[in-house]
Symmetry: C2
Subunit: 345 residues, 2 copies
């Protein structure tokens, strides 16, 4: 095995599509690059560049693109221009009713700002741990849940669709391992606020596939012997109302390289909505060295190989991530982007 | 979700061990860093550093460490010191009969050199594609197979254990997709040479989990309705003698970020031997930008989370990879190494 012979182009016809039993036929990618990605990058980009980013992502076939966050500008200066950005995206939401541009709203003031701009999709958030609720929003977990409930309630009254983010579902930098039963209980409360979708976040990237399966089994109420998971499956003994799996999404960070394997475990549980960030944008501020979200390109490579439809054009998406990496002044951490575009690691 | 609060230490007690049904209780890691890793690094290290590397890997609990390659020095100058290296490792093989230090041998001359030094474990190789056989060893596929058969035969007569490597099992830089039936046919011939273990290589890192499952199903003869794979499983219709799964290993490169998800698919098929490279050492010379082998640390993180025993001490292993990265003058590409040691990506 010598290094004779090199190829400059990525091999044509790859990945080969070989479907696997028990996986969905289609996945909707919830692209979080412009929000969760950029909010954790050091650089703050011009509003026009962000708008172009969202347009390019839509051009690559992504239909759900989380555009920004209506938090207080002093919290996340990278996204302080939400009011300026959203009007630049009006053509996207108007052109195709399938295209969604959700925004994160932390409180009623943020919701007001978003609704004034005609936003139809908002996301609220909560933490599965007390420590993170205090660190993130300086509230108790209960106070934070109450705040999200108020926002979700008003958003729904205004006709907006609400997504709930639950952070630290698999581990917490202060509390360490988080019991599945604790996460499941809080997840149910967040979902019950009227969320049309609940995104389970591995904020510090420590989850592994068995843990993912256990939490999903607990939430969907499988493992009772009537499903593929079988009697005695992980999470099966955790009581509570079932959440239909079509309302669950997963949100993995690749800090320990586990994001794609965890996604595979989630797909096997029936999950069909996967959060990812173009080019793997975004760090994790709670683990210094951390890489960011699961890279959308790495996800699309796997889904293409599994014959699972996403509607995403991998080459266009990868080109967008290279363009964004130039704007940010650092190479994309996505392995697929690097391989497709011949960047040295 | 602001960036308030940071933690400098990796969270204690993580990953949480949550076993998953249908996976093995134990995995043997075949560490290829000193051979497959270093042969693809630009730098050539002093022999003493390589010897210390192998000793450190053994100290971290790895029991199968592919030490070097007895190829012609002009082919792989990085490993031209095989004769000098092996005597420095004699204490390891002697101290613990469980410890194996296989070496790669491309031909009978290499085998002679290895056997003279008392090597007990050798590896031969073949390609699943005609194009790679020509590029790698300038022979036809049939010629290369005959050469490996001769080496394997003589090695066994000398009492050595033989591992077979099959390259380009999922895609080839020149030929593109490689049909599963073609790979299975050549794999069976390589195994039939008397290999105690057959390692299926994704040399350019293009595989995805369904493809992995299909090849393993084809080789192990599952998918006939009598196994978990069920009737009509991928690969089930490919005829040929079954290879017991305990004689199969998988060897993934992380070029497109798929290595760990593919490993999970292989574990689900019953595979219990996984090739990996400490710190993700090694590039892939056939894809310019490529990252290297699956990082042993990323693998161990997942296996620890799944409650699968490996005997590896992750902290000691990670420290070894940081030490090696300093010798090579570049950071480890392993996400887990970076996260555990707080290296910026």
């Amino acid at each position: 095995m010598t290094d004779a012979g090199t190829s400059s182009a990525p091999p044509a016809g790859l990945p080969m599509a070989v479907p696997q039993e028990g996986l969905p036929a289609q996945v909707r990618i919830h692209e979080v690059g412009p929000r969760d990605g950029l909010q954790n990058e050091k650089a703050t980009l011009p509003t026009k560049v962000k708008a172009e980013f969202v347009h390019r992502l839509a051009g690559a076939g992504l239909t759900t693109i989380e555009a920004t966050s209506f938090v207080h500008p002093s919290w996340v200066p990278q996204l302080a221009d939400a009011e300026e950005l959203m009007p630049l995206l009006g053509d996207l939401a108007g052109a195709d009713p399938e295209v969604r541009l959700p925004v994160l709203v932390p409180n009623e003031r943020g919701l007001d700002r978003a609704l004034e701009l005609g936003v139809r999709d908002v996301a609220v958030f909560a933490s599965a741990t007390e420590a993170f609720a205090r660190a993130n929003v300086n509230r108790t977990l209960e106070e934070a849940l109450a705040k999200s409930a108020a926002v979700a309630d008003r958003a729904r009254q205004a006709g907006a669709r609400v997504r709930g983010y639950l952070s630290m579902c698999f581990g917490d930098p202060w509390e360490g391992p988080v019991p599945v039963a604790q996460v499941a209980a809080i997840a149910r409360r967040l979902y019950a606020m009227g969320c049309s979708e609940l995104s389970l976040g591995d904020t510090i990237g420590v989850a592994t596939p068995g843990h993912v399966t256990a939490l999903l089994d607990a939430l969907t109420g499988t493992g009772d012997g009537t499903t593929a998971a079988g009697a005695g499956a992980p999470g099966a003994d955790i009581p509570g109302a079932a959440i239909p799996v079509e309302h669950l999404a997963v949100h993995f960070h690749d800090t320990y390289g586990q994001a794609l394997a965890n996604t595979l475990a989630a797909l096997r549980c029936g999950v069909t909505v996967v959060d990812a960030s173009a080019g793997g944008l975004g760090g994790c501020p709670y683990a210094r060295s951390a890489t960011g979200n699961l890279a959308t390109e790495d996800l699309v490579w796997m889904l293409n190989g599994l014959g699972i439809r996403t509607g995403v054009d991998l080459d266009r998406l990868s080109a967008t991530s290279v363009w964004m990496a130039e704007k940010l002044g650092r190479p994309s951490p996505s392995r697929t982007v690097r391989a497709l575009t011949h960047q040295e690691q």
